[in-house]
């Protein structure tokens, strides 16, 4: 597995983490002043896949192996 493939895996894991943290901030800790974390995580969960697509386009000619 090349760094390109591992980076795609990493961005996917980071996106899932951001979505999970957003859920945690809004559902599990709503009264603990974690709204900033929830909104930030929602932003990250949107931005990371956009970055992932940009990265795949940039490294179109690099092998996944």
């Amino acid at each position: 597995m090349s760094l390109k493939a591992f980076h795609v895996l990493f961005v996917t894991a980071s996106t899932l983490l951001a979505a999970g943290v957003a859920f945690w901030a809004f559902q599990q800790a709503p009264g603990e002043g974690m709204g900033w974390l929830g909104f930030g995580s929602v932003g990250a969960a949107i931005a990371l896949p956009v970055y992932g697509v940009w990265f795949l386009r940039k490294t179109r000619e690099v092998s996944f192996l």
Binding site: L3, L17, L48
Partner: protein, 204 residues
């Protein structure tokens, strides 16, 4: 005196389908997966076996850990951009992105240092509880990996970058191997952050 040349550092080895640099780093990462995998298994067993296990998670700083998560994710992006710059043979961009990666590693360690000192001020040591023992074991081992990765990246950034001009393909392969290790270390943190900082008490 004869010198030994390691074969297949740039070209693909026919029997494995990858060069020896990539094969070597993945064999090493396999051993790392076993190391951290055994610790995660220990965490699951200790957590499920003790109803009061998670009581310590409330003592940890979520904002500091969030900052460190952002720093590490950003460092993975700059690491892969440094590798792309090395492949494109753009030395100035390589220096910039690798420098950012090294600095991000340093920022992570400084924040972790502040976090540790806050724990010690409150007399929270590994002997305090099972949770704190696991917290210090996990984060200490992880920080050790960050130091090693940062050290090798710093080597590639300044003294090791001489190879950029003499053998650019071999240098790009070294950057890729370092990037794979750095991504592994960051991926471990992606798992550590929720299980240590966000999971509620086992009893709740």
């Amino acid at each position: 005196m004869s010198t030994t040349v390691i074969p297949y550092t740039t070209e693909i080895r026919p029997d494995t389908g990858v060069n020896n640099v990539k094969l070597g780093i993945w064999l090493f990462l396999a051993s790392e997966i076993m190391l951290f995998g055994s610790l995660f298994a220990g965490y699951i067993l200790l957590r499920t076996g003790n109803p009061e296990f998670g009581a310590g998670s409330g003592a940890l700083s979520v904002p500091m850990a969030t900052l460190n998560t952002v720093v590490l994710i950003t460092s993975s992006v700059t690491m892969v951009l440094a590798w792309a710059a090395a492949m494109e043979q753009n030395f100035a961009k390589f220096r910039l992105y690798m420098g950012c990666t090294v600095m991000a590693g340093a920022v992570f360690l400084v924040v972790k240092g502040f976090e540790y000192s806050a724990k010690f001020e409150h007399h929270l040591y590994p002997s305090h509880s099972t949770f704190m023992a696991i917290y210090f074991t996990f984060t200490g081992l992880h920080a050790l990996h960050v130091i090693v990765g940062m050290g090798y990246n710093a080597y590639l950034w300044i003294p090791g970058s001489k190879m950029f001009h003499s053998n650019p393909q071999q240098f790009a392969n070294r950057v890729e191997a370092s990037g794979l290790f750095w991504h592994f270390v960051d991926l471990v943190w992606i798992f550590l952050f929720p299980i240590l900082y966000l999971l509620p008490d086992a009893a709740s």
